[in-house]
Amino acid sequence: MVFTLIQIELYKIFRKPRTYIGFVAIAVIVGLIQLALKADGQTWLKLMFSGMDDMFAIQDGNVLNGYFVCFLVLNTLLIQVPLLVALVTGDMVAGEANLGTLRLLLTKPISRSEVMLAKFSAGLIYTFVLLLWMAILALFLSMAMFGTSDLLVNKSYAIIQFYVDAEGDDVFWRYIVAFGFAYAALATVAALSFMLSVFAENSIGPIVTTMSIILVCTIISTMDLPLFTKVNPFLFTSYMTSWKGMFNMAVDENGAAIRGSVYSINAMVQAMGVLVGHIVLFFGVALYAFKKKDILS
């Protein structure tokens, strides 16, 4: 029955016009960035690195390649995508309560746990498809438009950061894993808005509250005040950009990037643990509350 329910939930999601707002928005933004970089990207790159000539030399080769464009796009977009996720997942329970269809759904011989599991699974699948769409446009389309070459990535160690080249064939797998981390971050947002959706009777509340929570927590995460630094490790927003860790390479004693390395595996594992923990927590609260909820709408 859960499988049937998931199919039905996905059908409902993808028959709603609002679902496609995210896909269109991503296509427009990515398309504009790609067009702008295609038109005048080299000039922009020179301007960007003009003060760094003494830190490293840009080698021959195509710096403005598909990998680099994808990095720029992700860096820009992954801040806004939570809103596009919440638009759908924040509507999943509250929207149905508002329409009155939640009542209809729960008069059928299905348990509330099954309903929640199916709705959340459908929300996670939507989030995955949205991210896949972003990956296709930002990575694969950029690779087709700009080609592939070495990527300038962060070379990190304790004190300073500067750019080194990651060889082209050491980049693609990093993107795959990075998208995995980005997915975990977006799934956390999906779980948060889904949980809030259980407590609301219309979808505006959960969407706005989700974005407000992300905004407040992000501010706390980015300010180095002593009080905030104590709670930062527990905030999911501190790990929203953990995907970038895949592009922090370890260096050897000569300062050369170590091929296939990730600077801090432990930090990446911790990030994934916190994100998954939040997903489980948010879904658990949503499930508990929904099972106790009186359907009055």
Binding site: Y11, K108, P109, S111, K292
Partner: protein, 301 residues
Amino acid sequence: MSNTLISVNNLSKQFKDVHAVNGLSFTVQQGDIYGFLGQNGAGKSTSIRMLMGLIQPSGGEINMFGYRMPEHKKDVLRQIGAIIERPDLYKYLSAYDNLDMMARLSGMKPTRQLLMDQLDKVGLAARAQSKVKTFSQGMKQRLGIAIAMVHDPQLIILDEPTNGLDPQGIAEMRHMIINLRKEHQKTVIVSSHLLNEIEQVATRMIIIDKGRKVIEGSTSELFDPANTLVELQTNDADAAAKIGRSTWASRMKPEADGLLFTLHADDVPALAKDLVAMDIAIDNLSKRHSLESLFLTLTGK
């Protein structure tokens, strides 16, 4: 004696300080059209929602089809088709899609033929692919009925089914409820605040007020012909005085817009004859709905 499908004992629901339902007990037998009657806010919808597992009771017991609710919700709901308050449907989907989804959620693997037949029964086959947002209230109500019936349940629950319908729609709904019992051998629970609607379809009924049962019984038991209310409207200023001097005086009560008699149904022709004999100009002489008189008497309204 027919089988008991529903047995409700001492059911209660409290929302903070408000007792929406308070110690309600009733039984529904197989084959009944069971009327659930009460004013808006009397606790009808809350009671029905508790039957359907939508609201958790604060106290009491619900047994349906031999199962205890809400512990065996799935076993119970498999045998029920319901429209609770309004037929709220997925407006952005077609009638066919709505029906298909709900049939599958009821555990069926419906064929296209079956779904089209079901839509045909409620007169919506020609609009199968139209989105529900283009439907009138009556069409939504009929689609709601198709959804409630698609899995061939034993019990149909219709909460305020005539809400928002025009007179023709109300008549169709009444006809359909009677047919569900007569031709399809279904048991039906129908709630309404409209007294005459319940009166015309129910075989048994419960009247509730402020969350409590006022009375429960079969229609024939509840309507006492000895207490029929008859209204007289007249522009004869001396009518009350004339009747006051007659044998009808003790059974007459002045009201704002006329005179009200409480008498046996068989005495109505004699009253009409005497009023004519007393030379009272009759604008209107009519029986009040028998249920209305019962309801007003019992609830003290």
